[in-house]
Symmetry: C2
Subunit: 423 residues, 2 copies
């Protein structure tokens, strides 16, 4: 890494020694999991580059934006309306939450029986390892699960935190509550940036975020081809990077990659032979560098064809209606779009069952793997329901794991058996 | 048990053999924990009787009410507004959730990492052991925690379930959502009973429930005396029975018991010598027959002087304002009262810290024991916060346990050390 990066990290008050260690492990892990793949798309070179500079060039861009007076908003959830953040001329980024860094420190703030993702974001802060968090002028939390909701209370002592209340049902009253929360966030981000969100600004922002969703939808659709034209690992990485990268550049690059994919599909080329068992992942989000399960699956003779998760189709499936003309109309369109999210925080959440089933069918999945983070109650409950719901339509298995590598062999044994079963 | 009871249980489709076993264990457990106490109040004879007939006479009363056309509403949470249930001429009862019955069956419906209370109510249903549930025409759930919120989805296949959305903050919008939910419940219970809730009916119901709260507040206040005039076990039992018993009869009996307590306090008499370490319990609810922890504490040289829990002061501290004249005014008073509940489902929930601190002071507690059910995330998080908050004011320890007896010796060791420390 360049000296300029090190100076930047020092200014951000990172723990340089620990951070060096983290980047080293990340680099090695990435090399093993990503660079070992055959038949990769040329378009993935951009992703390799972005990932190699995940704490470098992208952070430098954030610092440059800040130097120009722009603000950075950090998030942990797809409920934070990026359209409003962008309309207020701020940058929105997902925060570090996918590695075991600082988990021991985290347990001083949150209970031991907390999921790895939450322990991770607390740990990244306490161990001073996340340059995104240290660059954030505002961190927006939400009440999507008990774990995060209560962890944010402790986290608020360590970061400039703002919490949005996500309702728990999809009733008319719940929508009203969410609309109030969207408006409250709009006022908050306007206050942060000093920028008034006009119809023009909001229209542009909605288009920017929709364009990114459309590009990712295009990617999702292309994965229905057999042979699978892209690995699940690469597709996951793309979804992960969508939370960090500049949206315009990212969208351009994804469309470019999709052009390449289309040629591949036309040529009948893929990353695995025709007939390779096609699996779909469903459940909890996998934040960078949580690539364990995709790697194990794709090393077990299967290929992943879809990710039904927040870092996947849950974040890209629904567009914001673009016909609104006034700010109020556009806010209503935002509210409607975000209320469609089929997060396990809702009760009931039967839309998700239908979405998983239809995705499995469209992507011609031979099996669905329900992935839950240990101690994530909402997705653990839904995994049990999903297994019943999908019975007789597509083979399903449920796995519960965390960020440690201790269970890799155990996972491999179960996954190999499942792959054999669906073959 | 009388043959009439057995016929009733059979009509309720209980598993008679398993239920006999449950009652036998319950009786023995009660004998060991309750009948062994010295200097008990004469007023506790009523509680002994009620408990001995918990699945007998009280269920008979419910059946008689049903025979007269009244409806029974079962609940698991202090957020269900009993005032509306009573105003619609229905009976409201707490449902079985305090024993390990049927936990193995429960794990077929909910994840293993689910708290004992939730597994218990699912288990009681699947094992056909709860005559309250089998008597219920409507079961009202709520969205107070991820565990219950998602468990109700599975439970809905087994019981006539209706779910109220409890908000997660105390904002103006959150209060609006809760008001809508209270009105929706009012319509639901009116539909169930065919009774229109008039101002007159609601006024009477509010007074009934407030009177019970006032009696229990009187009991709480009398426990500030040293020596402690009543054991924690007995006080917990009283709070537990408040969820089952006829409210008028119960209130009358509690006031009678408080008269006796007052005489005791005047005479300087108690259940333990002056100077016995006084501890307060704080945290998760303890449903019948979850008496493990109070028993261990009071067998370790301490006396419990207060229960900061839903089966304790969280349910009795706040009254509904009685000055409303119209139904709308009274509904607003209900909404205000229920929004004061300092459940760990809210974020932030700093009122609870203040309430615990003030309670510890008023009751002259020498120590506070935070009690969390294993896998209860909201209260586990708050236990960590409470420990910090109370630092320097009153010694605090946090315990996590479930309904099994396996950890009794371990708990005893930790509690004895704590008692010694605060002595």
């Amino acid at each position: 890494m360049s000296d300029a990066h090190r100076e930047m990290w020092e200014r951000l008050n990172l723990d340089l020694t620990a951070h060096d260690g983290l980047l080293e492990v990340l680099g090695k892990f990435y090399g093993d999991i990503y660079m070992s793949q055959d038949n990769r798309l040329k378009g993935m070179e951009y992703m390799d580059f972005v990932l190699s500079e995940v704490h470098g060039l992208r952070i430098k861009e954030l610092q440059e934006a800040k130097a120009q007076g722009r603000k950075v908003v950090g998030t942990f959830c797809v409920f934070v309306p990026e359209e409003l953040t962008l309309a207020a001329d701020a940058v929105q980024v997902g925060l570090c939450a996918g590695a075991e860094a600082g988990s021991d420190l985290a347990e001083e703030l949150v209970p031991r029986n907390t999921c790895a993702l939450i322990k991770s974001f607390i740990g990244f802060k306490l161990a001073r390892l996340c340059p995104y968090l240290e660059s954030s002028d505002l961190v927006v939390g939400e009440t999507t699960c008990d774990g995060k909701k209560k962890a944010y209370e402790a986290f608020a002592d360590h970061a400039p935190l703002y919490v949005m209340e996500v309702p728990q049902t999809k009733s008319v009253s719940a929508r009203e509550l969410w609309r109030d929360e969207v408006l409250r966030y709009m006022a908050q981000v306007e206050k942060l940036t000093g920028v008034t969100i006009t119809a023009e600004r909001l229209r542009t922002a909605i288009k920017t975020v929709n364009d990114r969703r459309r590009a990712l939808q295009r990617l999702t659709a292309l994965r229905s081809a057999d042979p699978a034209p892209i690995s699940g690992r690469d597709a996951l990485l793309i979804n992960q990077i969508s939370f960090y990268d500049d949206p315009h550049r990212f969208t351009y690059k994804i469309n470019e990659l999709c052009d390449e994919l289309e040629l591949r599909v036309q040529a009948g080329q893929g990353v695995a032979p025709v007939g390779t068992p096609r699996l779909m992942l469903s459940g909890c989000p996998m934040a960078v560098p949580n690539w364990k399960l995709p790697y194990v699956i794709e090393s077990s003779g299967a290929v992943i064809v879809g990710e039904e998760s927040c870092i996947g189709t849950r974040n890209t499936r629904d567009l914001v209606d673009e016909s609104g003309e006034t700010v109020a109309e556009m806010v209503d369109a935002l509210v409607d779009r975000y209320m469609k999210i089929d997060c396990a925080c809702f009760t009931p959440n039967t839309d998700r069952q239908d979405n998983v089933a239809s995705m499995a069918q469209t992507l011609k999945a031979d099996g669905v793997i329900n992935y839950s983070l240990m101690f994530c109650q909402p997705y653990a409950h839904e995994a049990m329901k999903l297994e019943h719901f999908l019975e007789g339509t597509v083979p399903t298995m449920s796995l519960e794991t965390d960020y440690s590598m201790e269970d890799v062999e155990q996972l491999k044994t179960r996954i190999e058996a499942f792959v054999e079963m669906v073959s």
